[in-house]
């Protein structure tokens, strides 16, 4: 087996979250992070739809469709959690109160630009809270697949899709590696098991800066 599976990527991203952090989880892959919190830390999860202290997925049969996450899937609330309205929720985001946000992405560049709201074409665009998050969170991280289904790199030198934000992404988690956008390329932080540097370079649309 080569690389991390989806659960392992989310767990790897979770591992980087410090004790006491307030963390927003975006739609899609990042949602899994809520189920993979490292033991021994108090990390407070924020969901854009008005939840602080979001917990893991509920046990089967205990779902409540009025307690859902940004991806509209049922979640739970931890002791110490709170509910609030949308303007207050985005005051937290826009006001710089979120320590870390973890987003999904269509493309990320080595300058930290991110595209995740419009895939072009005639399908309806859907921005959600992503532009607020990249403008307001203190640190923006991304969980994404390394390439498209058809094998095109998603870590690139320049966006081909409409930008969500420019120069904002600080770290990327994929099935192949953990990488940081850096001047002129992506700096390698960690390779997934069974992945070597040439393999990573072939799958990436920009230089890999190793070491």
């Amino acid at each position: 087996m080569t690389g991390w599976n989806r659960e392992e990527i989310a767990a790897r991203a979770a591992l980087d979250i410090p004790d006491g952090a307030y963390v927003n989880l975006g739609i899609g892959q990042p949602e899994r992070v809520a189920d993979l919190m490292p033991a021994g830390r108090e990390i407070i999860l924020h969901s854009e739809n008005g939840i602080l202290g979001m917990g893991a997925s509920p046990a089967p049969g205990e779902t409540d469709m009025e307690l859902i996450n940004a991806g509209k899937k049922p979640v739970t609330l931890v002791p110490g959690g709170a509910f609030f309205h949308h303007a207050d929720s985005f005051a937290m985001i826009r006001g710089g109160h979120i320590d870390v946000c973890i987003l999904g992405a269509f493309e990320v560049t080595c300058s930290g630009d991110i595209a995740n709201w419009s895939s072009g074409g005639n399908a309806a665009p859907a921005v959600g809270g992503a532009m607020d998050l990249v403008a307001g969170a203190r640190e923006v991280r991304v969980i994404m697949s390394h390439q498209t289904a058809s094998g095109r790199p998603k870590l690139v030198e320049a966006l081909t899709l409409p930008a969500t934000g420019l120069g904002v992404v600080k770290r990327i988690y994929t099935e192949l590696a953990v990488l940081d956008p850096a001047r002129g390329g992506f700096r390698l932080v960690e390779l997934a098991p069974g992945v070597d540097l040439p393999m990573l370079e072939r799958a990436t649309g920009a230089s890999i800066l190793a070491g």
Binding site: F83, H86, A123, A124, V127
Partner: protein
């Protein structure tokens, strides 16, 4: 005596004219005033502008209003969904106008309308297609966009508990847009699971004070959108 209760949803919606702008609460399935929207379908107003975070799911509530071709324009942040086929088809066919607004800007524009703020600056969307045609201005060395208040003729919202004066409590994440929408419309219409008397709600815990609410309809057992979607999935040809 102040009594904002209406016995039937249809009566509470009697004066919605064609061309009205309507704020509709809800995020995903949580907080959708489905029974009020169904009454609006029955009532007959058309050529509507609807503001909601999403663009409807399945063929119920907002999606059904869209399917009945009663909506000229939708203002939302995230129209895509696993069950947004009604919107998707109308959009692809060019039969509905979409104003896409970042979610925080959407919430803040509605909040501003309720608070008497005609416009504000926000960092959200700077340097993106969302900034097109908008004033950009620098404060303290950072660029911001000018965004304007988003007010409406009506707000349709869902609450957990209401009293006769219109004080409201919500349930969990079903709160979402309802409190800001209640304040931003000329006429705010609420469907509430429980309707009580003034004094029954703890004054420290009231989320929407009665001043923002005009009409209340008691809907003790609202439809569950997830049941509808599950039935829809089951009926779908394999």
């Amino acid at each position: 005596m102040i009594d904002k209760r209406f016995r039937r949803a249809l009566d509470a919606l009697h004066d919605v004219p064609d061309g009205a702008t309507i704020l509709v609460s809800g995020f995903g399935e949580a907080g959708n005033p489905t029974e009020l929207i169904h009454a609006l379908i029955e009532q007959g107003a058309r050529d509507l502008t609807v503001v909601n975070n999403n663009a409807g799911n399945g063929e119920i509530g907002l999606a059904l209003l869209l399917k009945e071709q009663r909506v000229r324009k939708i203002v939302c942040s995230f129209p895509r969904g696993s069950h947004s086929h009604v919107f998707d088809e109308l959009y692809r066919a060019g039969r509905i106008e979409l104003e896409l607004v970042p979610q925080g800007t959407l919430a803040e524009r509605i909040r501003a309308a309720g608070a008497g703020i005609p416009a504000f600056y926000t960092p959200t969307g700077v340097g993106t297609e969302i900034a097109r045609g908008k004033e950009t201005r620098s404060f303290g060395g950072r660029d911001y966009l000018l965004e304007t208040a988003l007010s409406a003729d009506f707000a349709l919202i869902k609450a957990e508990r209401a009293d006769r004066w219109g004080n409201l409590l919500y349930n969990k994440a079903a709160r979402n847009f309802a409190p800001v929408m209640a304040a931003a419309a000329k006429v705010t219409i609420v469907q509430a699971r429980h309707v009580l008397e003034p004094g029954d709600l703890d004054p420290e815990t009231i989320v929407t004070p009665s001043i923002f609410v005009d009409r209340i309809v008691h809907v003790p057992d609202p439809v569950r959108e997830s049941d509808h979607l599950a039935a829809l999935d089951k009926a779908r040809p394999a």
